[in-house]
Point group: C2
Chain length 211, copies 2
């Protein structure tokens, strides 16, 4: 385990191809989930849930769906873009140790969720903060995390019997990895380059750009 916060933040990767499938000790998984649950949330609503999906049949069914959605996306690409995409692995659902599906329940803490009356999506934002806590804790434990987003929400809802009104936000693959790549997959495969962080910083107002 490496523990410097900055080291972990910068070493973290979105993992597709490096999962080994080795088991995760219970106490490690517990620490990672407790870290996710320690995220801030609007009105202290803690609107997230975590479904640990180990069942190989469920994962295989999800994986087939992901492949179909990959084909949907690929059909919109042409030329060099299509060729680049064909080389990119988009998920590690079958190879990783387990999946963690993170959901959002808008009814938790309602009706008066403090801080949500003006911004309907604030609860959804909270769920994402928990996901990043999970991701960093897992990285500190030298586990890999890969967020799969090639799926339709109703499919996951049906597959995992998620109640109506509760929304799946993320399908995360989790487990030990051979290593974490230094450069994001999409950059290594020439899909897209990272931009310098200073380009994202503005002063006082949007148009006064430049750090």
């Amino acid at each position: 385990m490496f523990d410097d916060v900055y080291e972990v933040i910068h070493a973290r990767r979105d993992v597709r191809g490096e999962f080994t499938g080795a088991p995760i000790p219970t106490e490690v998984l517990d620490r990672v989930l407790a870290a996710a649950h320690a995220a801030p949330s609007v009105g202290l609503s803690q609107p997230w849930d975590f479904i640990l999906v180990r069942d190989p049949a469920l994962r295989a069914e999800f994986h087939r769906h992901v492949q179909q959605e990959r084909d949907v996306f690929a059909a919109g690409l042409h030329g060099e873009e299509a060729r680049r995409f064909s080389r990119i692995k988009i998920d590690g659902v079958l190879e990783s140790t387990l999946s963690v599906v993170v959901t959002y329940d808008p009814d938790r803490g309602s009706p008066a969720v403090l801080g949500r009356h003006a911004i309907a999506d604030a609860g959804l934002y909270s769920v994402c903060l928990a996901i990043q806590n999970l991701w960093l804790a897992a990285t500190a434990e030298r586990l890999g995390v890969g967020w799969v987003s090639f799926y339709r929400e109703p499919f996951v809802q049906d597959l995992l019997r998620i109640p109506a009104g509760v929304r799946p936000v993320a399908w995360l693959c989790l487990g030990p990895v051979t290593h974490l790549e230094q450069v994001p997959d999409l950059e290594r495969h020439g899909w897209r380059q990272r931009r310098p962080w200073r380009a994202a910083v503005h002063r006082d107002r949007w148009e006064r750009s430049g750090h």
Copy 2:
């Protein structure tokens, strides 16, 4: 600075009342922003921007708007709930060193954002991951962060001249603090209790609850 990832994750608080207004050294702010920018993003789109708001006039104008929205929320509460809310401080806009407004630009990396064709909100999720990176890096630097959500998005858009189509996702107060509370403000004030993390964990399907 304390650096253990778990220590930082569990010490992190949503700060309202403990800001000192002391300056933040440039290199510290740079580290925090670079950490935010190191977050994962759908299709490596990095759709976030950070507007550093120091101008006291802008902050005062935002603060007046927040007070109005506080009144809107308070008007929907009754009895004990209204009394509890009246004791809760909802922002540190005036007392903190600066504000960081985090935005989402859906056009960045489009039209073919890899992994976003099936889930329209995936770009918004990426922005939240950057926010949590910022929050943890700031906590590691012993700075406080407070997410203010008592505002209307169009108000912030006008105030900071954010272009149409770019969405403000968070108004964060940032700066040195006297201390971080051990227990979240809303729990200390009896607004809401945290639930145990194991209650949020399910196995394979939603209904097979319990860890």
